[in-house]
């Protein structure tokens, strides 16, 4: 307990130091020009390279026209013009009044650019001075992604730390996960009834982590099966999964000392077509009448078709997926369901290896960070919107900056 929460708190504190400096950075406003008689142009148009990218952005700042200083002034908006490599000027964007900055993401490295901006009044446009010629530059590190990097490092670091701790022999507590406790019983039941086991690793290919999670659980399941000598069917809808599935089961039979009992016919490719696959699996279910059905992986609409058919033949069903949309159907139609993260935790949990268990504890650090940040964020959001407390607003801004999808 102490371990889990103290790490994230410390980490939050440490990373907040450089960021509070970042947050303080401000643009210096240039002085506003003295007023003249007609709609004034915008001034101080400055273009600069947008740092931390591959040379595909430029940043523009300007001071709005003096006639735009009052609400309902003469200015109705702005238009930005750009010339590429000395060519003619083209309008690339327009803005409402009061706007004073823009980021041009449509530039290319190796080209040079000149900009000017028009202040629009009811019937005329007045142009600002042109900017200096600028070439976008390429950087080798995307500093805009530092928050992401820090988050990645903290979470990966704590997972790594606990894997190491566990490897050194410290035992870590992991709570029971209902569906997993049932796996051995379910296989035992199939053995007693002399009926086969059906294993379905979802309908996605190897490029989905859920399929990989399903396969790792298959590794443990097939070990038990190899010991009990139960039959297993594993129809799959991707040939790559077939290859991996065969490797997995074969290894289990080998380690059980019965390589002859293994046959490639245990795992078969059906078709890549989602419902063609479902039609075939439904057929297998009603004809082979498996006693136990595992549905572990990425599932889509077929989840309920498979689970209901499995239920109608009286099979024990253990399901798990990280597709939130399909979880309700598994919950409704299956005996045990691994919810989201539990699917990924299952492989580690079942292995019983300390190293893998350690990674679960690392995940918990991530959750602890989420809990603490949410708590702080909610408090800050509450106070800053209700009473406009500057301190709270800056905390809120700070956390939303770190926890935002960076470009």
């Amino acid at each position: 307990m102490k371990n889990i929460f103290s790490i994230p708190i410390l980490v939050c504190l440490v990373i907040s130091i450089p960021f509070s400096i970042f947050a303080q950075e401000k643009q210096s406003d240039s002085l506003i020009e003295t007023s003249k008689v007609i709609a004034e142009p915008a001034t101080s148009l400055i273009v600069s390279d947008y740092k931390y990218d591959n040379g595909n952005s430029l940043k523009l700042n300007w001071v709005p026209s003096i006639d735009d200083q009052l609400p309902a002034g003469k200015v109705t908006g702005y238009e930005l013009f750009r010339s590429v490599n000395g060519g003619g000027f083209e309008r690339i964007a327009e803005f409402p009044p009061q706007k004073n900055s823009f980021q041009d993401d449509k530039v290319e490295i190796g080209s040079s650019y000149v900009y000017y901006i028009d202040a629009l009044s009811k019937d005329t446009a007045t142009s600002s001075a042109k900017t200096e010629l600028i070439n976008p530059e390429r950087e080798w590190f995307n500093a805009g992604k530092i928050p992401l990097l820090i988050m990645a490092l903290i979470i990966a670091g704590s997972i790594f730390y606990f894997i190491e701790t566990a490897r050194r022999g410290k035992t870590l507590f992991v709570r029971k996960i209902a569906g997993l406790e049932a796996i051995d019983d379910a296989i035992g039941r199939a053995t007693e009834m002399g009926r086969p086991i059906l294993f379905i690793p979802g309908i996605q290919d190897m490029d989905d982590v859920q399929t990989l999670a399903g396969l790792t659980i298959l590794g443990r399941v097939s070990k038990v099966i190899a010991d009990y000598d139960t039959r297993i069917f594993m129809p799959v809808s991707r040939s790559l999964v077939m290859t991996a599935g065969r490797e997995t089961i074969k290894a289990a039979y080998q380690s059980a000392g019965r390589p002859d009992a293994y046959s490639d016919d245990m795992v078969n490719y059906i078709t890549d077509e989602q419902f063609g696959y479902v039609a075939a699996v439904d057929g297998i279910m009603v004809r082979e009448k498996p006693a136990t059905v595992f549905l572990l992986g990425a599932f889509f609409a077929e989840s309920l078709i498979l689970a209901e058919t499995g239920n109608s033949i009286g099979a024990i069903q253990i399901a798990g997926t990280a597709r939130p949309a399909q979880l309700p159907f598994f919950i409704a139609a299956c005996d045990f369901t691994l919810i989201g993260e539990e699917l990924f935790a299952a492989s580690a949990y079942l292995s019983g290896e300390p190293k893998q268990m350690g990674s679960l504890k690392g995940q918990d650090v991530g959750k602890a960070i989420a809990l603490i940040v949410i708590l702080i964020g909610v408090i800050a959001a509450t106070f800053s919107t209700a009473w406009d407390i500057a301190f709270m607003t800056s905390i809120y801004d700070f956390f939303t900056t770190i926890f935002s999808v960076s470009k």
Binding site: M151, R175, T243, T271, P328, I331, V373, I374, V378, T400
Partner: protein
């Protein structure tokens, strides 16, 4: 038993041919020239539809026929699509100008420049071909182990891509979306709040309550997922609230989904009534 099977098959065949004739006749009235084929195609579509629906009663030869046909045809369907769109559409234009011309696809190799007289893109895209061939080595019993290499490449790609992607969109983004103001967005003080206590659906109190539920729900939901701590005491209570929130989520999603599922059946029945039987317009 055998007799009934023959009778049923005969009746179905008879109906099939009847439908074919009637359908061809109906189509011939329109501009369609190939009405015999068209009549057959609509009939087979209807036949397959009914065959699949018959599975609801129980497994039967018609379902088996539909199922096996589906598997064969669809496996080839995806193979052809993979061949034309990935191999011809994406691989060939990157490795060979000659083949690109043969298949009449625009050649895009050369975009990455040359090194030592070799086109970089051409060279890079030889790798997936090599890995693809390694995968097929699976069929050999002596060199089957080499198929692990492409598998390892794919798993590495999956792990690397998903690490950052899920961290961003499922973790970071969802955490910051939960920074909700518990007093709503336009709080004007306790006095106003108490003088304005309505349970209007878009009212202040209701929006505030939603934010409270989101906050507590996410918080307790996360506690439920803690693995390394026994769910007892206050922690256990919070995790229990977490389960309740998850149950509401599952119930709500289930209820919400029913509509979509019914639509699909509407689509099929409309097909039967409209395109096949033509009893509705």
């Amino acid at each position: 038993m055998k007799k009934t099977a023959i009778i049923v098959t005969a009746v179905v065949m008879g109906l099939f041919i009847l439908s074919w004739v009637l359908k061809a006749n109906a189509v011939s009235a329109t501009a369609e020239s190939n009405y015999i084929l068209r009549g057959f195609l609509v009939t087979i579509a209807a036949f397959l539809t009914l065959s699949v629906l018959s599975f609801l009663y129980k497994d039967n030869p018609f379902y088996k026929f539909a199922e096996h046909l589906f598997v064969g045809v669809s496996a080839a369907f995806w193979m052809c699509l993979g061949f034309w769109s990935t191999i011809v559409g994406n691989l060939i234009p990157r490795v060979s100008e000659g083949l690109s011309n043969t298949f009449k696809v625009p050649y895009i190799g050369g975009d990455w420049g040359n090194v030592l007289g070799l086109d970089i893109m051409n060279v890079v895209f030889v790798f997936p071909i090599i890995f693809g061939i390694m995968l097929i080595m699976r069929l050999s019993s002596n060199y089957g182990w080499i198929s692990r290499w492409p598998l390892a490449l794919i798993v590495g790609t999956t792990a690397g891509l998903n690490f950052v992607r899920y961290l961003q969109s499922d973790f970071i983004q969802q955490v910051s979306s939960t920074f909700v103001p518990l007093l709503g967005n336009n709080w004007t003080g306790f006095g106003d709040f108490f003088s304005n206590l309505s349970l209007d659906a878009s009212g202040q109190l209701v929006l505030m309550l939603a934010n409270w539920v989101i906050f507590i729900g996410v918080f307790c939901g996360l506690i439920y997922f803690f693995f390394s701590k026994e769910h007892t005491g206050a922690f256990g209570k919070a995790s229990r609230v977490g389960i309740w929130i998850l149950m509401i989520t599952f119930g709500a999603s289930f209820g919400y989904t029913v509509m979509g599922r019914i639509s699909l059946l509407v689509g099929r029945i409309t097909f039967l009534f409209k395109d096949w039987l033509e009893i509705i317009s």
